[in-house]
């Protein structure tokens, strides 16, 4: 299952070198992957997000999709930038899994705007 429509995904994927997609109102989050002998641990930094705003899916067997709504609209002005316009309402990323995983047994926790997902290896 994909959390975004195909058109939204195409808008949020290729250009994200800047990390701020004004057209899609989307922010690309910072994330980290650790691979241990038993699991893959994904962490994602999601300031301005509450636990209920986080959705995960596995669009393919070798990737995880993170969608997280912000608790308020974020504008460049909020961040002290006046010459750029745009507001952002969610984070989105599709993250390739470095090894085969058992996505059905993924477990997540969320604390202080930091998402942590443990996914057992196959």
């Amino acid at each position: 299952m994909n959390l975004l429509s195909a058109s939204q995904r195409s808008e949020t994927q290729p250009h994200l070198s800047s990390g701020w997609n004004v057209l899609a109102a989307c922010i690309q989050p910072l994330y980290n992957l650790f691979v241990t002998a038993k699991e893959v641990v994904l962490t994602v930094d999601l300031p301005y997000v509450k636990q209920k705003g986080v959705k995960l899916s596995f669009p393919t067997h070798d990737s995880i999709e993170v969608y997280a709504e912000t608790s308020k609209k974020i504008t460049f002005k909020d961040l002290g930038i006046k010459h750029r316009h745009g507001e952002f309402t969610y984070y989105h990323a599709i993250i390739p899994m470095p090894v085969p995983v058992n996505e059905r047994k993924a477990a997540k926790k969320f604390k202080g705007g930091l998402l942590e997902v443990h996914i057992p290896r196959k």
Binding site: S18, G19, L30, D45, P47, Y48, L79, L114, E116
Partner: protein, 253 residues
């Protein structure tokens, strides 16, 4: 009139205002969790330090930073209250680290710097489970320990990769007292809580009263605003094998 100190590496330290001698220098370069940059920026803002200089180098990216509509060099010096704070608003490329360390040591020697205090992060995998990050100190010499006032645990063994490692070594060689504070932090997420913990130790070492509550209160905004800088810093840390810091040194004493 600005004065400048040039090194053979083509790096220039430009003083737009004379910087007084025997100051305490605080380094806030981008590093793990942006701890040093966030903490040093907070000191500049809290103590309303004056901008007094900058670093120019061909090895820096060709960019300026606009603040208040005025173009600024990305690596700048701020001064006041007996402090000189050095902040970099761009990633320091690996190729610039040695020339930067050499120039800063030459400059610090000429200025009879009282103490070189570098602020950085020490990544820990369970950071989100740590309420109050711990701060560790690497010293240029055992004789520097009294300056620490017992404010941090001393780092006895390990590697320090990047500018702070070289600075500490060169300070030791030049007999400049130096402390590198490494605070438990996220690796590649901006960590204002770690910056606040580092500042609490700086307060104890230097007898300052910098209020850290704003860093904590505005934590989400700071994390989001520093996201892109963290991303670029992470790329550079990967290039310079920052993960070497998690290796154990093979020799034992």
């Amino acid at each position: 009139m600005p004065s400048s100190l040039s090194s053979g590496d083509g790096l220039r330290i430009i003083e737009t205002e004379p910087i007084s001698k025997q100051a305490v220098v605080i380094n806030g370069l981008p590093d793990v969790g942006l701890v040093g940059l966030l903490a040093a920026s907070h000191i500049v803002r809290s103590l309303t330090l004056r901008e007094v200089g900058a670093i120019e180098s061909e090895l820096l990216p060709p960019l300026i930073v606009l603040h208040g509509g005025v173009p600024k060099a990305p690596v700048r010096f701020f001064s006041g209250s007996g402090l000189v704070v050095i902040i970099a608003e761009t990633v320091i490329p690996s190729a610039l680290i040695r020339p930067l360390a050499n120039s800063l040591i030459d400059w610090a020697s000429a200025k009879s710097v009282k103490l070189m205090l570098s602020l950085g992060g020490m990544a820990v995998p369970n950071r989100q489970d740590i309420e109050v990050p711990k701060v560790f100190a690497a010293l240029s010499a055992k004789t520097v320990e009294p300056l620490l006032n017992g404010a941090a645990d001393i780092l006895e063994e390990g590697y320090i990769v990047g500018a702070y490692g070289l600075l500490l070594q060169k300070c030791a060689q030049a007999s400049i007292p130096a402390i590198t504070l490494l605070t438990q932090s996220h690796y590649n997420y901006p960590d204002p809580e770690a910056a606040a913990a580092a500042l609490n130790v700086v307060n104890r070492i230097l007898g300052l009263h910098v209020d850290t509550s704003d860093l904590l209160k505005r934590g989400e905004e700071i994390r989001l605003r520093s996201k892109d800088m963290m991303h670029r810093t992470h790329e550079e840390m990967t290039r310079m094998n920052k993960s070497h810091e998690y290796d154990l040194p093979p020799l034992y004493g």
